[in-house]
Symmetry: C2
Subunit: 272 residues, 2 copies
Amino acid sequence: MTDTAPVGIVAASGGLPLKLAAELQSRGRAVYIVSLDGMADADYSGHDHDSIRIGALSRIIDALKTRGCREIVLAGKFVRPRIATSFPDALASKIMVKLFTRGDNAALEMLAEVLAGHGMTIIDKGEILGNHRAGEGVLAGAEPRDEAMVSINHARHVLETMSDFDIGQAVLVQGQRVIAIEAAEGTDMMLERCAGLIDPDLAPAVLVKMMKSAQSRHLDPPVIGCLTIEKAALAGVSVVAVETGGVLIADLDETLRMAEARGISLIGVGRS
Amino acid sequence: MTDTAPVGIVAASGGLPLKLAAELQSRGRAVYIVSLDGMADADYSGHDHDSIRIGALSRIIDALKTRGCREIVLAGKFVRPRIATSFPDALASKIMVKLFTRGDNAALEMLAEVLAGHGMTIIDKGEILGNHRAGEGVLAGAEPRDEAMVSINHARHVLETMSDFDIGQAVLVQGQRVIAIEAAEGTDMMLERCAGLIDPDLAPAVLVKMMKSAQSRHLDPPVIGCLTIEKAALAGVSVVAVETGGVLIADLDETLRMAEARGISLIGVGRS
């Protein structure tokens, strides 16, 4: 990234967009931030930025183009907008319909295509932040027992079978019993409902998170971090397995420390 | 059922066991109730009954045999017991391990086998209560729009694909986007998390419930009733599709009335 053009950051809620801006600036890159009106909640006054509502997608693209941005980062917690209340322009409507009818990945790919048509590329925030692609084998905690490996294999089989439907990035298994499958609710919410469904006296409860086969590694990589480990521990999970090379680990050192502290084995596994 | 031996009712929580007992007695059948200690919460004092804890499965079977029961009904809301706190005997341990490692259906089949070895058969409570197997076509409400049929077909495909894993009896779809998949949490809890994930301004949200391919029609048929319709309506679902001949509808008239009142199309569909 020796580009002199600013990186365009499209900012949803939370502190991640500011963290990205700081990281990019520390590498000598300028940034221009479009904070999504009604969603972005951090203070962007210290940065070159404009606040634009998500429904005005053509205006967002114009603003990024006017600043000469060629690399775009989508950052922050993105709350799926309601069509009726976001007054989408023609372009936003098309992408929202895709989002709601075909899933995140299809919508993101369509957005990437539109941006590409304007000479802009979505770049990987994980790489900027130094997130780590999970390595192979035991990353933290004890070597999982044999019965945990049986559960991991079962979970992989479930995930791979469902992967074509653009669902099931994560699954929670105890023995060969599937406790929960993630669809639109996200891994955290899935973990929250599992506490009462796991019997802590039986085989280890195993969370497995992998890429969906249709998922773009680049646009929307699966990520785990401290919060995932914390929620897994609260639910009674003892093994977290993530796809080697596919799932990103945010704040690697802290996440590994957290896994050790909570008695969770964190391991990297390949596809079956 | 011209048998003079009492029907054995193994009673978990809620009022269903009493309802079954009344229904059987109105047909001239005697009943003997084993109320599960710590789970059964209705008043069985008016009936020939014993209270036995679920972990003492051999004692339960002995009690049923002693009364001469040859037909057994499992009734009420069964809360999955924890192994450590239910002090299971050898037989209960075997079945609980099956339950937790292989799922409900495998455990039920093992229990049915054990009972068969003692000359006892599990009979269908749905038939006793006059539950109706869902018929084909529109059962209540308006004919679903074409886009709802597309969603139903997508959901059927998802359910049939996952069916071999003994999971996914129900799935909620909007457009071709899978909002939620049921695993161990049950249809009601699944519906509860969907409200925030459905956009009411888009394609109709569709709940589809089918048999799992491994599911025993006899031992543990999928059932919907007024509560399902109520929860679906609260979540923003506008079409409920159930497998014709596979899913039971409890309290048929009341459930159909509820669907009409809540503006939900209830339809019976075959496998794809």
